[in-house]
């Protein structure tokens, strides 16, 4: 995904990879937590 978005040159940058991995983990964890679809808006 990083290569597709940022290109070969930047995809290997450590800060970018770290941020992407942390974001993916957080998004995944949040998505595992069900909420009532008819529940309150944020």
């Amino acid at each position: 995904l990083a290569v597709r978005i940022y290109g070969e040159e930047r995809a290997g940058e450590a800060p970018l990879k770290t941020a992407l991995e942390a974001a993916a983990a957080a998004v995944w964890r949040v998505s595992q937590e069900p909420l009532d679809p008819a529940g309150d808006e944020p």
Partner: protein, 452 residues
């Protein structure tokens, strides 16, 4: 100013300085001169100040001195010097946020919090180093306890400056853990009020719904006095709470507090911090406090994931245009964070915001039978300078907006240890009361050995 006088003056807390000035034991001019002299000798090593405003501070001190001698009515912090993290706007004084394109950015107005502290008589001595835009790329500031350890961030200069006795009181800001964690790593008090309690007008944003104005000082009393000056609704800040109950400073409580030891936080901390906090809690119990174990009611990993999704999305929204406008000017971690933050789905952000509401309710329940939560401020002592440290144990309170405070509670391997207390929203008076009681049970934190 003699060397011996200067040594005594830089050790004064903000409240002690205010009292000494009011009672005409010291002059605000000699206090400012002593701190300027100290900056010239100490700061080349600590690098807490990014710029001093010596001329204006001295002029303000001379004016403050005249008011003392004239018998005028004096504010609570009359003549007391303070510093501000360099993301707080200061009138006619550069505010650069560690961002080179802002090297000459000079606001016309003070941030509201700065204006209110000045209205209470305090004198702005200068601006303190921040990590770039208050994110996590380490700054140049050193930890006064150990050159090889991080001072933490993002309020690096604020915490290190207060610890090194360069200034008694400083503004910081916290989006994840940027006030309390540096406070813990540097052995000072760090305090974050309820979200919406203190205006953020004139403070450069990182993530709007998480950013808090906070304070660094050397006593709980100083936080109480400063909060009295800066708290309250501000119509010019959309995040300021219009319906907030007034903050009224209370005398120290007569009864020991009821404290809830947070299970998830103890499990997440290093063995050293876990044992330390359990020992501190045991001491509090022996002194009369009621200590019981409580739970956040939600997994810590979930709380941190929700915080992450919200913070990264909002940071990306606040900063992506600057990255395009000034290519190459951002530090690598902030740049990576913003660039990847732009990819986070809107659905995830809104789902995280809905979960945030549930987490807030659970954490409110966690406080139902206690006056304050008790937990380690940080997972361990300050790590090396390649990082600003781990925000895992401070971020939950930034997420839910509850007030929290870090108190220095010991030293291990030459580095400070700290406990954290947190309370329900708008319960700052109760939190500071519990913190005052706890502070009185703990041994006073000395100055860092090299700067005593």
């Amino acid at each position: 100013v003699t060397d011996s006088t200067a040594t005594a003056l830089h050790e004064l807390t903000a409240s002690e300085a205010a009292r000494s000035i009011r009672e005409r034991q010291i002059s605000p001019v000699e206090l400012i001169e002593a701190l300027l002299q100290r900056a010239s000798t100490i700061d080349p090593r600590v690098q807490a100040w990014v710029r001093l405003d010596a001329e204006r501070a001295l002029a303000a001190a001379r004016e403050a001195e005249k008011q003392v001698t004239s018998g005028a009515e004096l504010g609570q912090l009359h003549g007391v010097p303070f510093g501000a993290k360099d993301i707080f706007d200061t009138a006619d004084l550069v505010t650069s946020a560690g961002f080179s394109p802002y090297a000459s950015r000079t606001p016309a107005q003070d941030a509201e919090s700065i204006a209110r502290l000045k209205a209470a008589g305090a004198i702005l001595l200068g601006k303190l180093v921040t990590t770039q835009f208050a994110y996590s790329d380490p700054s140049r500031t050193r930890n006064p306890w150990n050159d090889d350890s991080t001072p933490g961030g993002s309020s690096s200069g604020s915490a290190a400056g207060v610890a090194a006795r360069l200034v008694p009181l400083a503004f910081g800001s916290q989006t994840a853990g940027s006030v309390l964690r540096p406070a813990a790593y540097n052995g000072v008090v760090g305090f974050k009020p309820t979200y919406g309690r203190v205006s953020k007008r004139g403070v450069l944003p990182l993530a709007w719904s998480l950013d808090h104005v906070g304070l660094l000082a050397r006593s709980v009393q100083d936080c109480q006095v400063a909060l009295s000056a800066i708290a309250g609704y501000d119509a010019s800040d959309p995040h300021s709470a219009a319906t907030q109950p007034p903050f009224v400073a209370q005398p120290p409580p007569s009864a020991p507090p009821r404290l809830g030891l947070v299970r998830e936080a103890l499990e997440h901390a290093s063995p050293r911090l876990r044992e330390h906090v359990l020992a501190v809690a045991s001491g509090f119990e022996q002194a009369g406090a009621h200590v019981r174990e409580v739970s956040f009611g939600e997994p810590l990993r979930l709380i941190l994931a929700v915080h992450h999704v919200i913070m990264q999305t909002e940071t990306a929204a606040a900063h992506w245009q600057l990255i395009e406008q000034y290519p190459g000017a951002h530090q690598p971690r902030l740049r990576g964070y913003v660039e990847t933050g732009r990819l986070l789905p809107g659905v995830s952000y809104l789902h995280a915001q809905r979960l945030r509401r549930r987490i807030r309710k659970s954490m409110r329940n966690c406080l139902s039978a206690v006056d304050a939560l008790l937990l380690p401020t940080a997972v361990d002592v300050a790590p090396g300078r390649e990082t600003t440290g781990d925000p895992s144990l401070q971020a939950p309170f930034s997420l839910v907006g509850f007030p929290s405070i870090s108190l220095p509670s010991g030293v291990a391997d030459g580095l400070p240890l700290a406990i954290q207390l947190a309370a329900a929203p708008w319960q700052e008076a109760e939190l500071l009361g519990a913190a005052t009681w706890c502070e009185a049970q703990l041994s006073p934190m000395p100055a860092p050995p090299s700067f005593a």
